[in-house]
Subunit: 269 residues, 2 copies
């Protein structure tokens, strides 16, 4: 991988300590600065898993040493493969839901990095290795040119065909409604029931609080949330949880939990 | 990787459809049976992520096509690297906890694939691709020869040095207590406060129910559960949750959530 190639110039010595498969130390590299560290690619694979499983906790930016790794992940085959896999997970579950036909059976979607990809933007800020810049982000959103994530667009239409009512819940601000709607339509998303954006009173709220409040509103209005798809834990945790959660995983509603490393860190949590 | 090499004989044609980085289809392979499918390694990477994030839902056995992938993962550098990474995540969090010194500050550990590795056993059942066999599992446990997971043993001792009280919570049965204690001591684990095993009345309970009940017992006895380390979601979900959860992730207590693909599927959930 490119991340491995970029390491080459700094590698002075490669030590591979082998003992048992279980207890052996991971490959370590003595870099140009003389410090022993594990191979970048191995480190970044583990870092990504730690992020995916939410073990890592809060984080600010993608480690500089993982820039090539994240770029390779996003622009290569793994990202679309991962997206297709979780979309299939979601559809498989969705087909088990008995819909009432009253239009109250809901599937909630986040927008950024769930329905739309902002990779063109993230590519300009080092794939998450550079500090978030709200101005440049808002400028990108204002363009309304974020492409659809193919697997998500397919899932979106399949859920509609099954009879689910689609609700969009995003951390974008209310003033961005028009361009967001324009972008969604241009990307192929149509016929959603509601689009929640952050109103003035929601500014400053943590995503998990804001999104939980909106899901609570839906439930109070008689909607039944069967699925909840997002790329960040803040999209999936909190209250109320989706039905799938109550059915098979108390305290967890991840159905379409994408990887988040390319997300602007300051927008996490 | 071996999984990729093992594919070669069956590959008749490799189609790589390239469009945009976001929307392109993943690499597809026309196998010997003429069916189009994605590359095994790509499929297994996505399958693993889907398992790790609990998006996949319930599953029985590791897909046959992922046997080599799982074997490579377990016997290569990635597994120990992942274990070291989440152990560091856990220690980093643990150091932020203010201990009272009354011995009631607890860190809960699962045993199998968390403190001890049963890879020698899983290697005999196709790394999870073969159906679970309770008899062969019990025979393996009876040997008391499961080695320690190096990163977990290090974390275990570091947590003790910080002053945490260690509680072990396993799905093993009460009649396996003696051999389990013998195995743990031989692997280097010492001085835990309590070891919970399934009593007769716990048989048949789902892991998430049984483990939640035991955590509730601890809390009722005045213990404060700060951390909860396990390799399966059933180790981490349910009630009550660890303090870290309340601090940063409502409804989720994954601190040390290992990958589970090599686990005997019938022991999941």
């Amino acid at each position: 991988m490119a991340s491995g190639q970029s390491l080459v110039p700094t590698i002075l010595l490669l030590l591979c300590i082998v003992s048992t498969a279980v207890a052996h130390s991971i490959i370590q590299v003595v870099s140009g600065d003389g410090k022993i560290r594990i191979d970048d690619n191995l480190y970044c694979e583990s870092w990504r898993l730690s992020i995916e499983t939410n073990d890592f906790g809060n984080w600010s930016t993608v480690p500089e040493r993982c820039k090539s790794f994240v770029q390779d992940y996003m622009t290569g085959d793994r990202y679309p493969s991962d997206l297709e896999f979780v979309a299939l997970d979601s559809l498989t579950f969705a087909k088990t839901v008995e819909l009432t036909g009253d239009g109250k059976d809901v599937w909630v979607f986040d927008i950024d990095e769930t329905l739309l990809s902002n990779m063109p933007y993230y590519a300009t800020i080092g794939f998450g290795t550079e500090t978030y810049n709200e101005t440049s982000w808002d400028d990108w959103v204002a363009l309304g040119e974020a492409p659809a994530l193919a697997a998500s667009l397919k899932l979106y239409k399949e859920l509609q065909q099954l009879g689910f009512t689609i609700v969009l819940l995003t951390g974008r601000d209310e003033y961005q409604r028009n361009v967001t709607v324009k972008n969604l339509l241009a990307a192929g998303y149509t016929d959603w029931e509601t689009l929640f954006l952050r109103a003035t009173e929601d500014e400053g709220k943590k995503a998990i609080v804001y999104k939980s409040e909106k899901r609570a509103e839906l439930v109070s209005e008689g909607y039944r949330i069967h699925g909840n798809s997002g790329d960040q834990w803040s999209d999936l945790l909190g209250y109320p949880v989706a039905n799938r959660d109550k059915a098979c995983m108390p305290n967890h509603v991840a159905i379409l939990c994408y990887q988040v490393v390319y997300f602007n860190p300051s927008r996490v949590g």
